[in-house]
Amino acid sequence: MDARTALAPPAKSPVPGGRNLHRFANPGRFLRLSGKVLPWFSAAGLVLTLIGLGWGLFFAPADWQQGDAVRIMYVHVPFAWLASAGYVGLALCSLASLVWRHPLADLAAQEIGPVGAGATALCLATGSLWGKPMWGAWWVWDARLTSVLVLFFLYLGHVALVRAFDDPARGARAGAILALVGAVDLPIIKFSVNWWNTLHQPATITLTGAPTMYLGMLWPLFIAALGLTLGFVAVILARTRAAVMERRIRALLLAQAQREQVLPRQVGA
């Protein structure tokens, strides 16, 4: 299975959309392209994160009510966005895997899982560290916090499920179904603060109105969020590159072992 998917050229698709998708499915092309952009993503991510968080930590003003505890927001909010955005990526990879049998989507989904779980854990932990001094509680079971905790468990479930099968293709199939079913949690997270009474505040930055945040706080938040997003993508790209190379190593070793098994028999005959 591994050998075939790794060595065979991408399948010709009769659907135009499918063919376009498969243009990026060639593992060799993926390695070349990702190798080119990875250093740029990593460097830009690191620089922007340092600028954004340094600005937020040392130069942005304190909040009139929260005092300096508002500075926790500069890590909490980007990771809250990344937790959801990472899951959108996971669900899209799962869709590409189930419907178009995209050969890279399984590997990308497998590598998004742990990184997304890490981002969600950071979102929950930093939120808790803000909640204790501000709300007066480390944790409450309101709809926003609970739905993000569910997202964390969905990530963990996906990480465990795709690695639970001897046949990686079956694990990927099961994981893709879990990821797509779990996507129903995303609108619940987004709208929980509007649909129900929650302790968590509603969104500050919306598409419809002016952000209810002082611009001297908004800029470092945007820069930190951009930097952390680039870093998040860079880590996923690096892990997916490693996974593609590992798959190729397995395929080559398998082919080598088969040649060595076949050859002596032919000599004997």
């Binding site: 390695l31 070349r32 190798g35 990593s42 968080l53 930590l57 304190a62 005092g67 300096d68 505890a69 500075r71 926790i72 890590v75 909490h76 990771f79 990184v115 890490g118 854990a121 950071l122 932990a125 930093t126 560290l129 803000w130 204790k132 001094p133 870093g231 880590v235 690096a238 892990r239 590159r241 490693a242 190379m245 590992e246 190729r248 190593i249 080559l252 070793l253 080598q256």
Partner: protein, 45 residues
């Protein structure tokens, strides 16, 4: 700064997690590249 312990805990946690994810991803990539080059010198680019 007010709430300094909470701020340090939050940023400290972030640095630990970020460094761990970056370092493991980089190490895994370097190891895979080395092994691939050892098996198939043609494939290493």
């Amino acid at each position: 700064m007010t709430h300094l312990t909470y701020i340090i805990a939050a940023y400290g946690l972030f640095v630990v997690v970020a460094v761990w994810f970056s370092a493991t991803a980089w190490a895994r990539m370097a190891r895979a590249r080395r092994r691939l080059a050892a098996i198939d010198p043609r494939a290493s680019r």
